[in-house]
Each structure stands twice: as structure tokens, then as C-alpha cells.
Amino acid sequence: MHELSVTENIIDICLRHARNHGARRIVRINLVLGELTGIVDQCITFYWDMLAKDTIAAQAELVFRKVPVVARCRECGEEYRPENLELRCPRCGGEQAELVSGREFRVESIEVD
């Protein structure tokens, strides 16, 4: 729902790095997006056309690598995808699990000319 401000952030990050490298054009942006963030990638692509149009990132292709939610049991070390975010360990029943992925949202790299 806040994809608009998120898109602005991504543009800022990409333009800053492109500028630092003297790039003329950003061709591709590689993003990592955890499934727990609730961010809808189509919305970002939609806002991109609107917000980046007068920048060197206007034509950039946005590539999202989706990362599933994964938990790890602190008792037995089992790693699993918790259904409905129910963290209880399916192997030993342990209640102390931690999320190892699913929350990330970052710009991994940009490809420039």
C-alpha cells in the first residue's frame, strides 16, 4: 500500500549509485523481496513509469527475486516454511523458532551503460 514512497526510495538509491559510477543509463535493477513484506511488485513497476520518467532509470527493467518465509528451530536446527507463519517446529514441536528469511527488501545491484 505504500508502494509509492517505496518506489521513490528505490529510485533514490539507484540514481545515487549510478551517479557515483558515472553511469549514463540504468538498464536493469535487481531487487530482493521477502514474501512477508507484503510489497506488491506490480505496483512498484506501475509507479516506476510515473516517477522515473525523466531520469536515467526511466527505461530500466525491474527484476524481483522473491524470497520465501523460512524459519529455523532454535532447539533442533530444522529449517522450514511456516504455514500461516505458525512458527512451531514441525519436527520437534519446539516453540522457539526464528525467521531466517522473508523480511528482506533491498536493491541487490544495478546494471548500467
Binding site: 505504500h2 538509491i13 533491498r106 545491484s109
Partner: protein
């Protein structure tokens, strides 16, 4: 040419949140971020909390709303130091908006600062403000399936307040279902059931909060 970036999309916000946090620590004020859907009862809980604790704690409030000053006026009328932030359309408060509001409060005189976030069950969860305690509310009127539909906030909150318990029995909301789903996602969460209307259950909440503020 490929340029490695490795920068989080929320990093800029988190950096400002860290600065807010330093200011809070320096001033010795405990900060609570209150999040929930529109109409869940956030302002009602703020009013009740102030009522219950104002003899023991000095409390200030930041009111986040998309537009309007309605909630802030209510608090002002009750004599509470309050700053209104209108987000101008944004569905959440971010650390920068909070930092802009801080000069309007005398932090060093406060024990507790309550930030009422914009009514929204999704977006506020992604934006750190520099707070000590994330409190979220779910009202009986909203249904007991919300934690499954909007897991992020439930999985991050330190406290869940189930509000409007006076309405239990009028629909099919089952607090046990909520407790089971939410503790499954977030084993350390502390859950209160209360009614801001009748005052039922409020004492447990205010005394918990009082202890948290005093023991920081």
C-alpha cells in the same frame, strides 16, 4: 556493467529512526508506537491510558492522521500535550515525520510518549520510528481472521490489545483463535483483552505499561 548496491529500501528510514531513538534515550522518555486499522480504538486507548496513568507519569502524544485534527483536539481538550502530524495521504508515519514533530514537545519533561500511527493494518509495520514498544490493536468488530490475512504487524508487535470486548458474543469473534494464531507467529507477544468503552480489562494494560516505562 553491473554495480553492487546491497542497500535496503528502508535503510534511510532506519537511520533516522536510530537518531530519534538517541534523542529519546537522552531525554529519558519511553516511546510507544500504537498501530491498528482505522476505527479499532487507538484514540480511545490513548485517552484511557492517559486517564489511568496521568497521576503517575507525564505523558505526551503524537497523533498521525492522513488529514484532520479531530483526534488531536480530543486530547488537547483533555489537557494532554499533543502534536498533530498530517501525512498528506501517506498510509503510515515514518521516522522523518516523527523527527519533525519532536521540536514541538518538551521531551525532557515526559516519561512516556505515545505515537498514534495512521489507521492501517499493513504499512506502519514496515517503518521503524525509534520506539521502545510496538503496540497493536485488533477490535472484536474486525474479525478473528485478521492475523492470518495481515501477518506482518502481528508478527512484529510486542503487545497486542484486543479491544471492544464489550461486543464479544454479538459476532463470531473468538479471542482464543486470535491468541493461538498470534502466539504461533510471535511466541513472546503480550496480549490484553479490554474494552475502552466499559473500562473492562484496562487496569492490567495500564499497570503493564507503567512497569515498562519505569523499568526501562
Amino acid at each position: 556493467m553491473e554495480i553492487e548496491v546491497l542497500e535496503g529500501v528502508f535503510d534511510a528510514n532506519e537511520e533516522i529512526a536510530r537518531k530519534n531513538r538517541e534523542r529519546f534515550l537522552e531525554a529519558g522518555v519511553f516511546v510507544m508506537n500504537l498501530m491498528a486499522s482505522p476505527g479499532a480504538g487507538k484514540t480511545s486507548l490513548v485517552m484511557r491510558t492517559v486517564e489511568g496513568l496521568r497521576d503517575r507519569l507525564s505523558i505526551g502524544v503524537i497523533e498521525g492522521d492522513i488529514a484532520s485534527r479531530v483526534d488531536a483536539e480530543k486530547l488537547k481538550a483533555a489537557g494532554v500535550p499533543v502534536v498533530q502530524i498530517n501525512t498528506g495521504g501517506a498510509c503510515h508515519l515514518d521516522a522523518n515525520m516523527v523527527s519533525m514533530a519532536l521540536p514541538h514537545l518538551d521531551l525532557s519533561r515526559l516519561d512516556l510518549l505515545i505515537i498514534e500511527n495512521v489507521g492501517n493494518l499493513v504499512c506502519p509495520a514496515e517503518f521503524q520510528l525509534g520506539e521502545d514498544l510496538k503496540v497493536m490493536m485488533l477490535s472484536v468488530a474486525e474479525g478473528d481472521d485478521k492475523p492470518l490475512k495481515y501477518p506482518l504487524m502481528f508478527s512484529q508487535a510486542h503487545v497486542l490489545v484486543i479491544n471492544k470486548t464489550d461486543l464479544l458474543g454479538m459476532g463470531d469473534f473468538d479471542p482464543q483463535v486470535v491468541r493461538k494464531t498470534v502466539t504461533g507467529m510471535n511466541p513472546d507477544i503480550v496480549i490484553f483483552e479490554l474494552s475502552c468503552r466499559t473500562g473492562d480489562g484496562l487496569e492490567a494494560w495500564t499497570s503493564y505499561l507503567h512497569d515498562r516505562v519505569r523499568c526501562r
